[in-house]
């Protein structure tokens, strides 16, 4: 909502620098989105008279214009617009003028022809939004006059305010002025319009009836006479233009002016065209048709409202747009002025589905003030000038209006919510200037909600008004006196630890978007059952990821295309899956994936080991296994305490080629929910022996098919509790080992908690280990 400072000042003696007033408006909850000082920026722009137009010899889209800028001498200007004619008066920005957009006008050549200034469109000089052609000024203009003087534009300030849905009253200049007056503690008054009344009483001229009271709460009609349709006075055109409306003629302009000033939209009918001089307000019939003011034939539904005439034909869509059959025209002499209160929900629905939203419908949607209508009608007539007069009387019909609420506001509740220390008198003084009249009742206040605040319906709404006018910034800042303290859940702490550990291991955290293109899951070797987005913005972002792998592989693709290789990344994020059986929401799980570009499987094993150690998982196994997408042989399944939590190894080369990645990629993928639900972290000190240990080295020749893990397990079982450590330290193939077999060399460390082992004890273990391995695996001990 835009407001002009000069207009606001018609309702209250507002004081202060424009910047300060802007601050005050923001503190009132009417945030200033933009502030423009009008008038000042027109310095250097004068009225010029067009003398001659001719084509530019060297350019089709420019013409040469000769103007008289006040000294009688022709001045040559190049111009890209063609809407002017000789004799027209237009704005000319003279050399040296600084335009509102900061550009300085200088003498320059356009395609070989000199231009000594610039002719302006309305938009270029902040006079409205029209930028299609040069602004043609009125015929009474005089060349050489400064434009500001010619248009009667005084130095003024235009504020563009953000008005929230709960402030329907602020969609009117008067409403904004009321708020400012309350802030500045100055009196606010809407001047009483001065109008004359003549002729027959309106009840002898027309009739009106509300047939559907749910549609319309108040339908009022008056008759205005003595009007001739013509241009509005310049000052009125300036004001509505500044506020974003386009001048049409005096009747339409005044309707918009009153709407902008008092918040009450209106519609005017050429009474001569209203059959029977009768208005009926009712729901439309299904399929009922009307041709609206824009010339479009529309078909309505039973949920739209209409104003119909004496023959029950629609002459207007209620609250949205009038019909063309009763449109005001040059020949109109008697105007029926309608002002109404329409059911907000109805107008919202109708305007939306018809695609007809206007300043009027926007106000009806939020709820207008039914009690402003009488004064607004008088103001309407006043603005039409001294020739216009009203017929005495008003046809005023009522439907269902919302009940004017009286709300009990407890002083203790006000202070309890806000943290203030206000008494009854303070609160009454705060509320009175914004129209909330209250009276003390015991320790409370009964507040009457003003008719222009339909948004206020409960005690808490009034408390907000109290806080707002008291001043949010005056409320003392405190902190809760709670005795609780903050903490993270175990899972949150673990996730932080995971991130810190991975970063500490030299990896970078990546954050690709969780959407994939169709086919990308399959390219990564995964199932194509990703949950689809129903209304994606682009097809490339239409599948929700079921694994973090594709997103990270795409990250490698992107970086490799920029010649950045060797990336070491991880992501801890959510993945989305179809659940096994139907449930309210899809399965959403957290996953950790790390990829090391240019590395082999061994590298990622180190990453996993360090991570497991950090989290406190000491008991895990890596078992050769390969899920889709991973390398067939260089991959293992991770089992922690017997539970599969993920995989590590290398990415399948065919996947890498589909993602256009030309390096080997080691990869770790862990289901975090599975992993963290396994008990971990707590470590109790395990004492170790102070007694000396004995080492045994054993090398066995075994068939290729025998895994080192199996041999290791066998040795562990056989050696028993005396074995404190066992390592595979060598794998050997070739002479003198037989073909199809290899040598596995283990170092065993034996130690007792309570004594030094004797040679006999060590020799026994040595012998029994050899026997059991040789027997179980047809192995041969190597010397």
């Amino acid at each position: 909502m835009k407001v002009l400072l000069s207009w606001l000042k018609e309702f209250a003696p507002i004081d202060g620098e424009p910047d300060l007033i802007g601050e005050q408006l923001s503190e009132l909850g009417l945030a200033v989105e933009n502030m423009v000082r009008t008038g000042e920026h027109l310095e250097g722009v004068v009225v010029a008279k067009i003398l001659d137009l001719r084509p530019h010899p060297d350019a089709d889209r420019i013409q040469i214009v000769e103007v008289d800028s006040g000294d009688g001498q022709p001045l040559q200007i190049c111009c890209g617009a063609f809407n002017m004619s000789p004799g027209d008066f237009v704005p000319l920005a003279t050399i040296g003028t600084i335009m509102p957009n900061g550009m300085e006008i200088s003498r320059r050549k356009l395609r070989g022809e000199w231009s000594n200034g610039m002719l302006c469109s309305g938009a270029e000089i902040d006079l409205g939004d029209d930028h299609d052609g040069i602004l043609i000024l009125g015929s009474e203009s005089e060349q050489g006059t400064p434009l500001a003087d010619s248009l009667g534009i005084e130095s003024d300030v235009l504020y563009d305010l953000e008005v929230n849905p709960n402030r329907p009253d602020a969609m009117a200049v008067a409403g904004v002025a009321r708020d400012l007056a309350a802030y500045q503690k100055i009196p606010f008054k809407i001047p009483v319009p001065k109008v004359s009344e003549k002729g027959k009483d309106v009840s002898e001229i027309l009739k009106a009836e509300i047939i559907s009271p749910d549609l319309c709460g108040r339908f009022a009609v008056r008759v205005i006479d003595g009007i001739s349709i013509q241009d509005s006075p310049q000052w009125l055109k300036n004001r509505i233009t500044a506020l974003g409306m386009r001048p049409v003629n005096n009747v339409v302009d005044v309707s918009n002016y009153v709407m902008l000033e008092l918040g009450q939209p209106s519609h005017t009918f050429d009474l001569g065209c209203v059959t029977g001089s009768e208005f009926k307000v009712r729901w439309a019939a299904d399929g009922e048709e009307i041709v609206t003011l824009d010339g479009v034939a529309r078909s309505l539904t039973e949920q739209d409202g209409v104003v119909a005439d004496g023959s029950d034909l629609p002459i207007g869509i209620a609250g949205v747009m009038g019909g063309v059959s009763t449109e005001i025209s040059e020949s109109t002499s008697t105007v029926a002025l309608e002002m109404a209160w329409w059911n907000p929900a109805v107008i919202a629905k109708t305007s939306r589905w018809l695609g007809l939203r206007s300043e009027a419908s926007a106000r009806f949607e939020r709820g207008t003030d039914p009690e402003i209508i009488d004064m607004a009608m008088q103001r309407f007539c006043e603005l039409l000038g001294p020739e216009a007069f009203l017929s005495p009387g008003i046809i005023d019909t009522k439907g269902h209006l919302p009940a004017g609420d009286k709300i009990k506001v407890r002083v203790s509740r006000v202070n309890g919510i806000l943290g203030t220390d206000l008494d009854q008198k303070d609160i009454l003084q705060i509320l009175d200037p914004i129209g909330f009249k209250g009276e003390s009742v015991d320790h409370d206040i009964d507040v009457k909600v003003p008719s222009f605040r339909p948004d206020t319906s409960s005690e808490i709404d009034v408390i907000e008004e109290i806080a707002r006018i008291y001043g949010y910034e005056r409320i003392v800042k405190t902190v809760p006196k709670s005795k609780t303290f903050g903490s993270l859940t175990l899972k949150q702490s673990d996730c932080r630890l995971i991130r810190t550990t991975m970063v500490g291991l030299g990896l970078d955290e990546a954050m690709p978007i969780p959407f994939l293109a169709p086919g990308e899951l399959e390219n990564a070797g995964l199932e194509s059952d990703g949950i689809k987005v129903a209304n994606p913005l682009v097809a490339e972002e239409s599948i929700m990821r079921s694994s973090l792998r594709p997103g990270l592989l795409k990250t490698l693709t992107y970086n490799e295309s920029h010649r950045l290789t060797g990336l070491r990344l991880f992501e801890l994020g959510h993945v989305y899956r179809q659940p096994d059986k139907f449930q309210a929401l899809p399965d959403e799980r957290e996953q950790l994936v790390s990829i090391l570009a240019g590395s082999e499987a061994g590298e990622i094993v180190k990453i996993w080991s360090a991570l497991a150690d950090a989290l406190g998982f000491d008991d895990y196994e890596l078992i050769t296994d390969s899920p889709p997408g991973f390398h067939a042989t260089r991959t293992s399944r991770i089992e922690v305490q017997g539970v599969t939590v993920g995989f590590l190894g290398e990415i399948d080369p065919s996947v890498l080629s589909l993602f256009e990645v030309n390096e080997r990629v080691a990869c770790l993928e862990v289901d975090i929910d599975d992993l963290l639900s396994i008990p971990h972290g707590h470590r109790s000190y395990a004492p170790f022996s102070r007694y000396p240990s004995s080492d045994i080295d054993l090398a066995f020749e075994v068939d290729e098919g025998v895994s080192s893990n199996e041999v290791k397990k066998c040795l562990q079982e056989q050696a028993g509790p005396l074995l404190v450590d066992i390592r595979l330290f060598d794998i050997f193939r070739g002479e003198p080992v037989a073909e199809g077999r290899r040598s596995l060399a283990f170092k065993l460390r034996l130690q007792a908690d309570d004594r030094t082992l004797t040679n006999v004890e060590v020799a026994k273990v040595h012998r029994e280990c050899i026997e059991s391995v040789e027997k179980k695996f047809s192995a041969k001990l190597r010397s």
Partner: protein, 181 residues
């Protein structure tokens, strides 16, 4: 924002029945339903909107909400908590202010700005006292419990703090960006 215009829906169950959340505020309701007051909780999370990606918008981004529900929590506590956060995160020199605004789930509602001395006020997020109707929806008696909530965008905060000029950079994962942080 249940407006079709803003929300991304997924094909799951009945048509248009399942959506990607557009803000983290729904978590407040869940917390109130599942936890007994006093509640002092923070809810960071990912949110989704049908927004074409540009320098200041992404279809996926991050928000954080705070919800406090206890006896005797006041608007003054809200203002003070935001001030403490502002100083802690941005620096002791920074100040914050609250301006009246409107949100359907808080009353009084406010927007909060921060500023460095000599600088301009920058809007950071929204806040307010939890509306009594919301407390009721969460199974709490508004005559016994009251509270405040505030929320703001995290990505924007990161952009501001590190002077990153394009939001998309956070999601692009160009190594030259990742290596800087």
């Amino acid at each position: 924002a249940r407006d079709m215009y803003d929300t991304l829906y997924v094909e799951y169950g009945d048509p248009m029945s399942t959506l990607l959340r557009t803000h983290t505020s729904p978590v407040q309701i869940r917390v109130m339903e599942e936890e007994e007051p006093p509640i002092y909780s923070i809810m960071p999370g990912r949110v989704f909107r049908s927004d074409t990606a540009d320098a200041t918008h992404m279809p996926v981004f991050h928000q954080i909400e705070a919800l406090v529900v206890d006896r005797d929590i006041t608007f003054g506590d809200l203002a003070g908590t935001i001030e403490v956060f502002t100083s802690a995160y941005f620096g002791k020199d920074f100040e914050s202010r609250l301006r009246p605004s409107y949100f359907p789930f808080t009353e009084p509602s406010a927007e909060f700005d921060i500023r460095h001395p000599g600088g301009k006020w920058l809007e950071l997020g929204g806040c307010g006292m939890v509306h009594p109707e919301v407390l009721k929806a969460g199974g709490l008696d508004p005559e016994e419990w009251q509270g405040f909530a505030f929320g703001f965008g995290l990505d924007r905060l990161a952009l501001m703090r590190h002077e990153i000029d394009d939001l998309r950079e956070l999601f692009r994962n160009d190594y030259r960006f990742l290596a800087q942080f």
